[in-house]
């Protein structure tokens, strides 16, 4: 393997890698880029996720995009049709099953065979590589709205070959969220390379006239100050743009603190543009999306409906183009079609009330301070990464992970320092309990310490691990802060 760099792959390098990927499983032979581009060109323009999202941006709309996935063509088509008709979803998704996300194609094949025999879902998503191009198109042909692929994966190269040729027009995932939250021993450099392939493939489609929407996700939050997600997301943005990706969706993770979440959306939008322009990618267009993270959820539907409305409101006030949502089934099992449809109708009602009012973030000193801090933190982290890489963000990322300058709490990876840790302040915003080796200056650290001190005054004792554990489950237990 070559050393990683943020240079665009040469055609020769990319074509050689494609041959290898396409011959790794029999369905790879079905992919023909020219033919796939003709298939995309014959679709109605607004069935393309990138075009649909940009139209929403121009018209000030907020779209709804659920996370959906079932195994057989029949099951998955029925799920998407149900969400199109009953769930009022504007952009649909094909969640990749977890065997396929880990390239365990034999096991995905076994699961699919069992699902086909029994007629009941067995896999937790759509196994692209097993179905191949034609079967994937059967799903797309039965749907009138854009469909994106969903799901972090250490190696989604073959899935993209099949999924894009099969008529999907976007993907939500990314190398860093896959690294922190979905691997144990895979070096970050390998994930970056796998995603450079995925991004270069998207770039090829763009060069042949097919817009593809790439959604970066950064890191899954667990009481994480927004900079912990935004810095890795901007790295994902810059790596994608270098390979020719032209349409990028900025995914905002909402943790439930109105002002901090809105500050995160605002700063991410601003800095993504700034860093893209600084790297010369002025022609890359961005849209924004918001969703609350997976994790423990309240068990009662009444509480979840309130949360769906609340998180939808934050997205709407943050002027995002696309809202995702968890569902009323979240705490119990993989969402059912009915549960998903009910959840998104709830979100739709909320958006329909909010939309024409154009209500935006409540301006004020609190929001300004929050934005200023998030921005300083993201800049400090990204500048340190760029410095480590001597200007190359990919090289810098590898070194920054090693040194804990890029770090995450609760990572599944053994290659992550895991020293940073968050705790909630007196208002429920996420603050750094442990800064680890993040390159943050004294002003930033003092701000976080001061906010934690306010919580401690409220508690009447120091915050500690017991506070953090209680904070982690607070929303599932029914409130933004743990109820004593």
């Amino acid at each position: 393997m070559n050393t990683i760099s943020n240079q665009r792959w040469s055609d020769a390098e990319f074509d050689a890698a494609r041959q290898e990927v396409l011959s790794s499983w029999p369905t790879g032979a079905q992919v023909n880029l020219e033919e796939a581009v003709a298939y995309h060109a014959a679709m109605p323009p607004m069935k393309n996720a990138a075009r649909r999202a940009l139209a929403a941006k121009n018209q000030g709309e907020t779209l709804l995009c659920p996370s959906l996935g079932s195994d057989t063509v029949a099951n998955h088509t029925a799920l998407l049709q149900h969400m199109e008709k009953e769930g009022e979803a504007d952009i649909l998704t094909s969640y990749i099953d977890s065997f396929t996300r880990n390239c365990l194609f034999e096991r995905a094949q076994e699961g699919l065979a069992k699902a086909q025999e029994s007629g009941r879902p067995v896999l937790n998503g759509f196994p692209f590589a097993i179905h191949g191009v034609e079967k994937t198109r059967q799903v797309i042909n039965a749907i009138h709205r854009p469909v994106m692929m969903f799901g972090p994966s250490p190696d989604a190269r073959l899935t993209h070959e099949i999924g894009l040729a099969g008529g999907h027009t976007g993907y939500s995932g990314g190398p860093l969220i896959s690294f922190w939250n979905y691997t144990k021993d895979v070096p970050v450099a390998q994930l970056l390379r796998n995603f450079q392939y995925v991004n270069r493939l998207m770039g090829r489609y763009e060069e042949m006239g097919v817009p593809i929407l790439y959604a970066v996700s950064g890191a899954m939050p667990s009481i994480s100050p927004p900079s912990l997600m935004i810095a890795p997301e901007i790295i994902e943005v810059l790596i994608a743009a270098a390979q020719g990706v032209k349409h990028i969706q900025l995914n905002n993770w909402l943790q439930g603190h109105l002002i901090q979440d809105l500050a995160g959306i605002r700063v991410f939008r601003k800095l993504a543009r700034e860093y893209l322009d600084a790297a010369g990618h002025t022609d890359v267009q961005t849209v924004t999306y918001s969703v609350s993270p997976t994790g423990r959820f309240p068990t009662s539907q009444e509480q979840v409906y309130a949360l769906i409305s609340y998180f939808t409101m934050i997205g709407s006030m943050g002027n995002v183009q696309i809202c995702g949502s968890r569902t009323i089934d979240e705490a119990h099992h993989i969402p059912t079609p009915e549960g998903s449809a009910k959840s998104f109708r709830n979100a739709r009602m909320f958006l329909s009330m909010m939309g024409p009012q154009g209500a935006s973030a409540p301006e004020g000193a609190t929001l300004e301070t929050e934005c200023a801090m998030v921005e300083k933190e993201v800049r400090a982290i990204l500048d340190a990464v760029l410095e480590l890489g001597k200007g190359d963000i990919a090289q810098g990322t590898v070194l920054a992970v090693e040194s804990g300058i890029l770090d995450q709490p609760y990572s599944t990876s053994q290659q992550v320092a895991g020293r940073v840790l968050g705790v909630k302040d007196a208002t429920g915003a996420a603050r750094f309990y442990d800064f680890g080796n993040l390159p943050l200056d004294e002003e930033i650290k003092a701000f976080h310490r001061e906010k934690i001190a306010e919580r401690e005054a409220l508690l009447g004792h120091k915050t500690g691990y017991d506070t953090i554990v209680a904070d982690l489950t607070a929303i599932a237990d029914g409130a933004i802060l743990p109820v004593a």
Binding site: K184, S222, S411, G418, R419, G464, Y465, D466, V469
Partner: protein, 148 residues
């Protein structure tokens, strides 16, 4: 700089379980409280725990399991420790250990009978775990340390 650690602890999740939050916060708490922690992360076998404990001359193996299959996954662990020459190592397990609802005393007895020294009930907090380990290590110097 070189303050001797309070004890050497091998931590990890056993089996195909990917739940990592509990063990990560414990690792952070143990490190901050002066223990030397060797983390195995997710997806480990009994053999992984025994090999790491032997290599690091550990005092404690701390196993996290949230999938509810823990009894199947740890049966025979004490015997493997004995065979590897670390038979006296302190074994503790916690998480969501069973799928069905049963009295805690019953669950605890199952694991104590398998050779565990300690079984943490669900929702035991890091401070309680630390206090427990400090006590256990004070009372019971490990075989590995004594030999080393």
């Amino acid at each position: 700089m070189n303050i001797p650690a309070k004890g050497v602890i091998v931590t990890g999740v056993i089996g195909e379980d990917v739940h990592v939050t509990g063990v990560r916060i414990l690792e952070h708490a143990l490190r901050s409280n002066g223990f030397e922690v060797h983390s195995l992360g997710i997806h480990n076998s009994q053999e992984d725990f025994v090999a790491k404990a032997k290599e690091t001359k550990a005092d404690v193996i701390l196993i996290s399991s949230l999938a509810g299959h823990a009894a199947m996954l740890v049966e025979g662990l004490r015997e493997k420790c004995v065979a590897a020459g670390i038979g006296n190592i302190f074994l503790t397990i916690g998480g969501q250990l069973v799928i069905h609802a049963e009295a805690w005393e019953e669950t605890e007895k199952t694991f104590l009978d398998m050779g565990f020294d300690d079984v943490a009930p669900p929702f035991q907090l890091p401070d309680a775990v630390i206090a427990k380990l400090e006590k256990a290590l004070g009372l019971r110097p490990s075989e590995a340390k004594a030999a080393g």
